[in-house]
Symmetry: C2
Subunit: 438 residues, 2 copies
């Protein structure tokens, strides 16, 4: 039975608090194992990759080669259903044109004193993209991670993907080709993360590592953070649907199940002001569950983490939505924009009855890598900004230095930093360069 909460019940506040605190993920402590693997890759390079890939993926990369060949990528592309290729291409083009609008602009100006200030954006030089193997190997995720990097101007994008017993998903390689990635290695796990961070004989290190992965991959990313940049550590997916009674319960049920089928730890929540509609959705979910290819996963997710919350009106819904801070928020009401304007914490908002979240997973153009586990309170979905960095620029002439020097010296002295004070003071009352040429 799915959890049902009623805003008007006396114990709602405490039950909602408890619901928010539910842990949906038990991550095994693999830190020590991961540290050992990273250490081995640092010491033994390619040899470690060969050994670990043979052990974990039952693949002999000494024979197959670490790098996926151009011919293999081309063959995978040819082997992929042309309908899928066309859909990936459409997705690629829509993602690229939306993300192009995110490119931040440089800003240089002189202030009233004549001080030159600037912010200059440049792309990260090399990025590693982790792609999981097996059933979680999604071509759409390859596009979502790689396209913003290309748009940002990242010159080198390196993909790693484990090939259990040699198997690679052709659609993943096709997506990589569509995204313009040609440097792909058939390695996975913590060893792949270590190779990207530290480099081996075959693999040049990168500056940042992105992409989802299992507990080993997540732990490895945490451990190499600092040596390289990493993206967020993603948790199980979630959707919050705010819907009135004018919706078709089957549509809303389908949306809740689209989230639930991802993972037994996924979470689907309905908030509605219509008790009859809530009942109808719960029934529709039960009906649809039996017909899904991943019905076991969806059933467990819905049973363990699903929730249906009845509210008296949308005023009551807004603070709940902001506390849930859902990765995905669908608003299917008469005036979805009015409600959306009041939502502060959400990874992505899908407006109206014809915007199922799934469109955003594939072809909407916006990114499907979004903050999970309430982290939309403080973080954003993946974007071009994740692949660029800002350098600030400052320029003073002798006159500007004279104007700002006294305050700088005062603060340096107040902080007990006499060399700081001298670095400013020594430049006052002297020639233009203070040097032989001045």
């Amino acid at each position: 039975m799915v959890l049902r909460l009623d805003h008007s019940s006396e114990d709602f506040a405490s039950r909602f608090d408890a619901f928010l605190k539910t842990k949906r993920e038990v991550s095994a402590d693999v830190n020590a194992d991961v540290a050992a693997i990273i250490d081995e890759v640092r010491r033994r390079g390619d040899e470690a990759l060969h050994d670990l890939t043979l052990k974990f993926d039952r693949l002999d990369t000494r024979a197959a080669g670490l790098r996926v060949t151009e011919a293999e990528i081309a063959a995978a592309y040819e082997a992929t259903d042309p309908k899928v290729i066309a859909a990936l291409q459409l997705a690629h083009d829509r993602i690229a044109s939306h993300h192009a609008r995110q490119m931040p602009k440089d800003d240089f100006y002189e202030d009233a004193l004549g001080v030159g200030l600037g912010s200059r954006w440049t792309a990260v030089e090399a990025v590693g993209l982790y792609v999981p193997g097996g059933t979680a190997s999604y071509p759409s995720s390859v596009l979502m991670n790689a396209v913003p990097a290309k748009v940002a101007g990242v010159e080198r994008i390196v993909m790693v993907v484990p090939a259990r017993e040699g198997e690679l998903n052709p659609a993943v390689l096709a997506a990589a080709r569509i995204a313009g990635i040609d440097e792909i290695y058939r390695i996975g796990g913590a060893q792949a993360v270590a190779a990207l961070a530290y480099g081996t004989e075959t693999i040049e290190p990168v500056s940042k590592i992105v992409g989802p992965g299992n507990a080993w991959v997540a732990a490895a990313k945490r451990q190499v953070f600092g040596i390289v940049g990493i993206d967020m550590i993603a948790g199980p997916s979630e959707v919050l649907v705010i819907a009135d009674g004018d919706n078709n319960p089957d549509w809303v049920a389908a949306d809740l199940l689209a989230q639930a089928e991802h993972d037994t730890g996924a979470q689907s929540i309905l908030v509605t002001d219509d008790a009859g509609f809530a009942d109808a959705v719960v029934e529709a979910v039960e009906r649809q569950l039996d017909t899904l290819s991943r019905s076991d996963t969806a059933r467990r997710s819905w049973r363990d983490f699903g929730a249906v919350i009845l509210v008296p009106d949308w005023d009551a819904a807004v603070p709940l939505a902001n506390r849930i801070a859902a990765e995905h928020l669908e608003i299917a009401t008469g005036d979805p924009e009015a409600l959306a304007d009041r939502i502060r914490n959400a990874g992505a908002i899908f407006l109206g009855r014809h915007t199922p979240e799934v469109i955003g997973d594939y072809v909407g153009g916006s990114n499907h890598v979004l903050p999970t586990a309430r982290s939309a309170r403080f973080s954003s979905g993946l974007s071009v900004l994740d692949y660029v960095k800002r350098t600030s620029v400052l320029k003073l002439g002798a006159e500007q230095l004279r104007q700002l020097a006294p305050a700088a010296i005062t603060l340096a002295e107040a902080e007990g930093l006499t060399a700081h004070a001298r670095s400013v003071g020594i430049r006052l009352n002297q020639g233009d360069t203070g040097g032989a040429g001045g």
Copy 2:
């Protein structure tokens, strides 16, 4: 003796590689201690804070109160030298006006298909600012961390600062008041980070924690990451000065020492094309060292991690600078802009002979919280962007859904996600809402 490297020597490449890999920080493994402290604060709340503060800071907060009172803040402001207040106010105003330009703009548009796409920026609701105690308690850092948060629109900024034996730096409280912070707690260490992340009876939790701290604070931030957002984990400070022979060696020496006096792990590097100038700077450093209030720290930093690198020309300097990816880069050459244009990796660049890095520490207007330890390859200095998050917005009507549905369904099926496919497919060939009202 400071390390001297000559680009023209045969073993330069390997010596430069070794130099880049030098570890400047030995961080004690305090993870287990920190985990225990966090656990205690989560279980016992205020009581844990009282006990831990008595133990670590020898301060009885049961008597003094956890929160610094309004009267204490006002008294500290009054007790601070008016010259320092004026300098802090100038710094505040310059930081505020520069950072106001960083506020990202919302972007809503319809594409050619009529799909509505948007990016909406909102401020993080509550931010915790960690301020170290003792000699590292810098009022300038309070401004650098707090002002961008205010500019971003963060409603609640909570400061924590350890008060060893009750002592607080009045200038730090004055800076907080100038920045508009009135919620301040006299706690520090891992216990303060835990209180900010999880909350106690007295302290409401925040959504993000920023600010520098010792090994315990850094470990605690890593451990609570995910529950709240965190800023970068800062390492020891560093400066790279690229200077020609037309500079006054005393000026450049002063700049190198301003960095070195921060910390024995700080790093100061000179790159020059003039061997005689290099010698003159090394001599000037030795001469100035004796006159500093923190000469022991500066001497150790310069001896252990300082470097002087001779290059034949600036073409040779550019790739070195990009690999060093310095937190601070001063360019004191005839045409500093031309050289700066070729630098890709740097936290902040200071142009010309009259822009000592110290100006950027205090009153330049740009932020002094910058990426250390080569992380400028993939990250940026603190900015308004660290205090806002983006929600993406998508809106389709029935017609747009009809156009995008086939590709979305194709990709969902290719990924084996039948509930995804249904969530889109079920909305086709039906009325406007599919519901009773449709």
